[in-house]
């Protein structure tokens, strides 16, 4: 087998394994989300939702800006450590084109609204749900943060917190890419 054909075979085997995994997961009574990494370098799933201020927010309307899309909840300690930093970044990098959108995965909307108010979150905050989570590859642990570039493509995914320095560096890079 030549190097080229071996590489091709490996790619095909990789595709087969990926498809098999999707199939196996799909047998789990309708579990149809894609693997987390499947979103990387793909167009970010669109959504239109009302934020806590009552404004209709369309992800598409932020095309041309870098979007930090964060999934959080009031009971998630690592999330609550990140949110003040996101607020600081919104202030620091907002004029350069950053938009923070925080999606609460709480069951209790009142609790999420109260905490957002208490923390003085001055970026877009809204409620999420299982459907939105699935469209983003399954938000099955918090926090999860996506960085979406100016073209609306998912550039990176971070989970479990603790990646703020790396995240900020990547934001700067995405903002610099005009």
């Amino acid at each position: 087998m030549t190097g080229l054909t071996r590489a091709t075979a490996l790619r095909r085997a990789g595709r087969f394994v990926a498809l098999a995994l999707v199939f196996l997961m799909g047998t789990g009574a309708g579990n149809t989300w894609a693997a987390e990494s499947a979103l990387l370098h793909k167009p970010a799933p669109q959504f239109v939702r009302r934020d806590f201020g009552g404004k209709t927010i369309s992800l598409r309307s932020y095309r041309g800006r870098v979007v930090l899309l964060n999934f959080w909840a009031t009971w998630c300690a690592p999330c609550l450590q990140e949110l003040p930093r996101f607020a600081a970044w919104q202030r620091e990098y907002g004029e350069d084109g950053l938009q923070v959108i925080a999606v609460s995965m709480d069951d209790d909307e009142a609790a999420a609204r109260a905490l957002a108010r208490k923390m003085g979150l001055d970026f877009v905050v809204m409620m999420g749900d299982a459907g939105l989570g699935k469209r983003y590859g399954g938000v099955l642990g918090l926090p999860v943060t996506f960085l979406i570039d100016r073209d609306g493509t998912v550039a990176e995914r971070f989970e479990s917190g603790g990646h703020l320095a790396q995240m900020e560096e990547q934001i700067k890079e995405l903002l610099a890419a005009r």
Binding site: L24, A29, A73, A77, D107, G133, G141, L142, S160
Partner: protein
């Protein structure tokens, strides 16, 4: 109890535990262990009330596994209170599923069977 051990137990032919998810319902709806029941967030009083209603009438020796997976294990606000409540109520065979990172990484991405909705 680790996820590998629970998965083997659920796949095997022997007696199976009752599995309760004690995290958020939004997470449960996205995916939960096949056959698991939603039992409310352990960190909230209303969640513990729902848990109590789920186990009402069960023999105290029932094999029960609770899990959450909302956050890394050492940051999870739900499993501890739910576990302690079950012990307080006299249940003697309760185990918490050890989910190191989150339910996605430690169960779903291992290819273990799940259900959605509910």
């Amino acid at each position: 109890m680790g996820s590998d051990a629970l998965y083997k137990l659920l796949q095997g032919g022997g007696a199976k535990p009752l599995v309760f998810q004690v995290g958020s319902h939004v997470m449960f709806s996205q995916a939960h262990i096949r056959g698991a029941q939603y039992a409310g967030q352990g960190s909230q009083a209303t969640g513990l009330q729902l848990l109590e209603s789920k186990i009402a009438g069960l023999p105290k020796g029932s094999f029960i596994v609770i899990y959450c997976g909302c956050c890394p294990w050492n940051r999870c606000p739900n499993v501890g209170p739910a576990f302690h409540r079950l012990v307080e109520l006299g249940f003697t065979n309760v185990k918490a599923l050890y989910i190191q990172s989150n339910f996605g990484d430690d169960w779903v991405n291992k290819g273990y069977s799940v259900e959605t909705g509910g």
